[in-house]
Subunit: 194 residues, 2 copies
């Protein structure tokens, strides 16, 4: 039983057997109620959390809070890779538009093509809605760039502004410690200083 | 629901909201079956795992595998702070005696005294059984040392050899990077080189 629980914890990302053991002993020795609560929360979430019908993020309702919010700008659509990215952008508090979640990136070798990422749905949105700007916020990785490029190609047939989030030196970051790719991006993406 | 699960994960030691979020999204997006299995394993363990009647470690049975194993030396008793310590010692494969788990260390300020650590039971064992050696394997912290000292005082009234595990430079460790306390212990605990 202890071993089974240990193995179950090991399936979580970044959790090895030492960490799993720490979780197991902590729950068994100090917080059994917490263990039951975690089990209940897990079952609830696994059973009831689905994807938002509109933006494909994880949501308990058919339409997530952001999609259901009429105050948010319907003409801006920010395309991200994962629901966690929405969370990160929302925390910055500067974006008032809507989202679209790809749930990954294009990776033909893994069998992840346009339809797996819901790009048909995205195209449908561009046809139906009056979207003025599509913001490509996929990650700054090779896969993220390829995915962004693919979407921008697809979106070109519509009258829509296609933008990509800026890449450069992080705020608070020091040039000295930035990697060469970041510096190259920061230089080529330089703006007029006002 | 997502938020509840996130908070439930945050009760685990060393898990903050970012890590919890990673767990949640991983389970929801990629491994719902794993989520259900984890929930089941949690409930099973929280309900059925108890303490061994003899050594007080966590066990599914009234007597743990080690205590129930007649091949193991009944005359040696290794006193450890937690069940995880038993696991660590067992992995080294050099100890063939039995164990006693304190489930913590003496900490009068937190209301943890001799009875909470089961020192009465330990004394009872010394009275009843033919224990020849008691190995103090509490941690090399102030609390662990105090606890070891207390137990050694208690055990003195019995005809039993009282030993403490060695402290010094870890194998593979470099003197240059060892902290001063470890070096001091390593020097004062030096042995004749054969």
């Amino acid at each position: 039983m202890i071993e089974t629980l240990n193995k179950a914890f090991c399936t979580l990302p970044g959790v090895g057997s030492k960490t799993a053991q720490r979780f197991v002993y902590h729950l068994l020795e100090r917080n059994r109620d917490g263990g039951f609560e975690l089990a209940k929360a897990l079952v609830d979430a696994m059973e009831h959390v689905q994807h938002c019908n509109s933006c494909r993020t994880l949501s308990e309702k058919t339409l997530c809070n952001i999609c259901a919010n009429d105050v948010r700008d319907d003409t801006q659509l920010c395309v991200v890779e994962t629901p966690a990215d929405i969370h990160a952008i929302e925390q910055s508090g500067v974006y008032r538009g809507k989202y679209f979640v790809l749930s990954g990136y294009l990776s033909p070798i893994d069998g992840i093509g346009a339809s797996e990422l819901g790009l048909d749905e995205l195209e449908q949105k561009l046809v139906e809605r009056h979207i003025k700007e599509i913001i490509l916020a996929t990650n700054a990785t090779v896969e993220g760039e390829v995915t962004a490029h693919y979407i921008s190609n697809m979106a070109k047939q519509f009258e829509v502004q296609i933008t990509r989030i800026a890449h450069g030196i992080p705020i608070g970051g020091e040039l000295e410690y930035a990697d060469i790719n970041t510096i190259a991006h920061a230089l080529s993406g330089r703006k007029n200083y006002t």
